[in-house]
């Protein structure tokens, strides 16, 4: 279950599980999360939780609601988002993969969410309250694990695949690699340097001879694209497959010589 961790000046004050569909935040005592501080409005903000997703909405507060340093009106909460209200900080911790079922959901696998199931889930979330929603979700996950269609979700895989640690970690992390560049050694622009910052850079004359330099995690590669003649690297004509480039390789293409080198 998703929760909020309330802290001030780096001191954790309490943890608040998001069990309700609407969790209100404000200075007045009737709020679910009461923060007795004058910088906080009476009814400051609300977090709406539907199944696994939580949305934060500012309720027209005097001093506003800030998430990760940016003022927001409405925000789809992601794992580790930090909500700031005056001096107080609320860290949002998303729901971990449900361990109770034994089977873990694979967030990468495509699944079908049939409209009927979605409506039922939404109705449960909106009407019967959060507990029903949680039950619904667990049922759905269980069903997915067992590859059953009864709950309306067809899982792509019955294998027990470990879920990624956090779905937000799915963003590809590009390893740091040295930047490559080429310097023209002959032709009208001899001496000119070109940094290879893009994932791919084309060289040559369209219709005559074109090659592409690709930037990959393993380094730089040169590939022949079009033209009867292939480019040469250190005097050797390259094949059809991408050719790995090493520091100070000399490429010749459409009559122009150039040197590839890695920048420190």
């Amino acid at each position: 279950m998703a929760k909020l961790i309330l802290s001030m000046d780096g001191l954790v004050l309490k943890e608040i599980p998001l069990t309700k569909e609407r969790t209100t935040i404000g200075r007045k005592p009737h709020n679910d999360i009461q923060i007795d501080n004058l910088a906080v409005s009476g009814e400051h903000a609300v977090i709406v939780t539907i199944l696994n997703d939580s949305f934060l909405e500012d309720l027209g507060s005097t001093n506003g609601t800030i998430v990760n340093g940016n003022p927001i009106k409405k925000h789809f909460l992601q794992n580790n988002d930090v909500i700031e209200l005056g001096k107080y900080k609320l860290k949002f911790v998303g729901e971990a993969a449900p361990a109770a079922t034994g089977e873990k959901a694979d967030f990468e696998k495509t699944m079908v969410l049939r409209p009927a199931a979605m409506k039922a889930a939404q109705a449960a979330g909106a009407g019967a309250g959060a507990q029903a929603a949680v039950a619904q979700r667990q049922a759905a996950v269980q069903a997915a694990g067992a590859s059953a269609t009864a709950a309306g979700i067809a899982d792509k895989d019955a294998r027990s695949t470990p879920a990624p640690a956090a779905p937000s970690a799915a963003a590809p992390t590009k390893p740091v690699q040295p930047l490559g560049a080429i310097q023209l050694l002959s032709g009208g622009n001899a001496g000119r340097e070109l940094e290879l910052t893009k994932p791919l850079t084309t060289l040559g004359k369209p219709g005559v001879q074109v090659a592409v330099l690709t930037r990959r995690p393993q380094g730089y590669f040169i590939t022949h694209v079009e033209g009867d003649k292939r480019p040469t690297v250190n005097g050797q004509e390259i094949g059809a497959a991408p050719h790995s480039l090493k520091d100070h390789d000399v490429i010749e293409l459409a009559g122009v010589k150039m040197e590839f080198f890695l920048k420190a």
Binding site: T110, M111, L113, K156, A170, T223, V225
Partner: protein, 274 residues
């Protein structure tokens, strides 16, 4: 009408860096101007079965029908073009084949597949899709997405709950709201667009667009448009370099020249003689 000389087609499919098997299926029938891409789902190897059935059924059925039918004719009964009716019919046929297999054999229970199909004819392209497999178009240097995903995420973007930027980081990228073979019947989304010589169409599974930014895909097509085969390989490689978390499939189709449907007297004579 044989479109082999009119369309240049390159395909590439790869299991990616994480998955052990490839649940995507692709098929192309250049002569009839038909390309099909499907991304299967279901336990064990059922995903492959579903996507394989989808591509096979659609390609073989369409091939048989197109041998005798002219897609641009107007159907007398409901005043619609034959092509759209035929394509919808074949998609439904594939749907019931998969659904019935899933119902009758326990190991295939719950299998299904996304789908994107393009039929090129008469200077036009007819596009049918279900789920989150996409069609993009590169025209005169501009790259854009043609289809809209049938996914929970897209619905949330449409209703304004989240922005496209937030969607990129959302956890539930994988939930599609429509698919082939899940229910006894399905309504594919079908649209028709005019084509231009020089257009490059890209059909891809979510393994590409989840791993590679649209901007980078566009740049690749722009840079490597001269060599479609290489462009297809490069796209798959980029998805794999970025993590390759899912199967990656791409189909690239370039329109080389105009291909109006034969409408003259001679064509009618020829059709009649056949």
């Amino acid at each position: 009408m044989d479109l082999t000389q009119t369309l240049e087609i390159a395909t590439c499919t790869d299991p990616g860096m994480v998955r052990s098997h490839n649940e995507d299926s692709i098929a192309a029938d250049p002569a009839n101007g038909l390309v099909v891409l499907a991304d299967g789902m279901g336990g064990y190897n059922a995903g492959e079965v579903a996507s394989g059935m989808a591509t096979t059924v659609i390609v073989t059925e369409m091939r048989q029908i197109l041998a005798n039918a002219r897609p641009y004719e107007i159907d007398q009964k409901n005043n619609q073009e034959v092509a759209a009716l035929l394509l919808r019919e074949q998609v439904l046929k594939a749907n019931s084949s998969i659904y019935q297999a899933a119902q009758s054999q326990p190991q295939y229970a719950g299998m299904g597949t996304t789908l994107v199909v393009c039929l090129f004819y008469d200077n036009r392209v007819l596009v049918a899709h279900l789920g989150d497999s996409r069609l993009y178009l590169m025209r005169e240097g501009k790259f854009r997405q043609v289809t809209r995903d049938h996914s929970l995420l897209q619905e949330q973007i449409d209703s304004g709950i989240i922005t496209a930027e937030q969607a990129k980081r959302a956890a539930h990228k994988n939930l599609v709201t429509k698919a082939l073979g899940i229910d006894p019947t399905v309504e594919p989304e079908i649209h028709e667009y005019p084509t231009k010589p020089g257009d490059i169409y890209l059909l891809c599974s979510d393994g590409l667009c989840d791993m590679v930014e649209d901007e980078d895909i566009g740049m690749t097509l722009h840079a490597l448009g001269g060599n479609l085969k290489l462009a297809a390989q490069q796209l798959v490689q980029m998805a794999n370099d970025n993590g390759g978390r899912d199967n990656v499939s791409v189909i690239l189709v370039r329109v080389l020249r105009e291909y109006p449907g034969p409408r003259g007297v001679m064509a009618k004579m020829f059709a009649w003689l056949k």
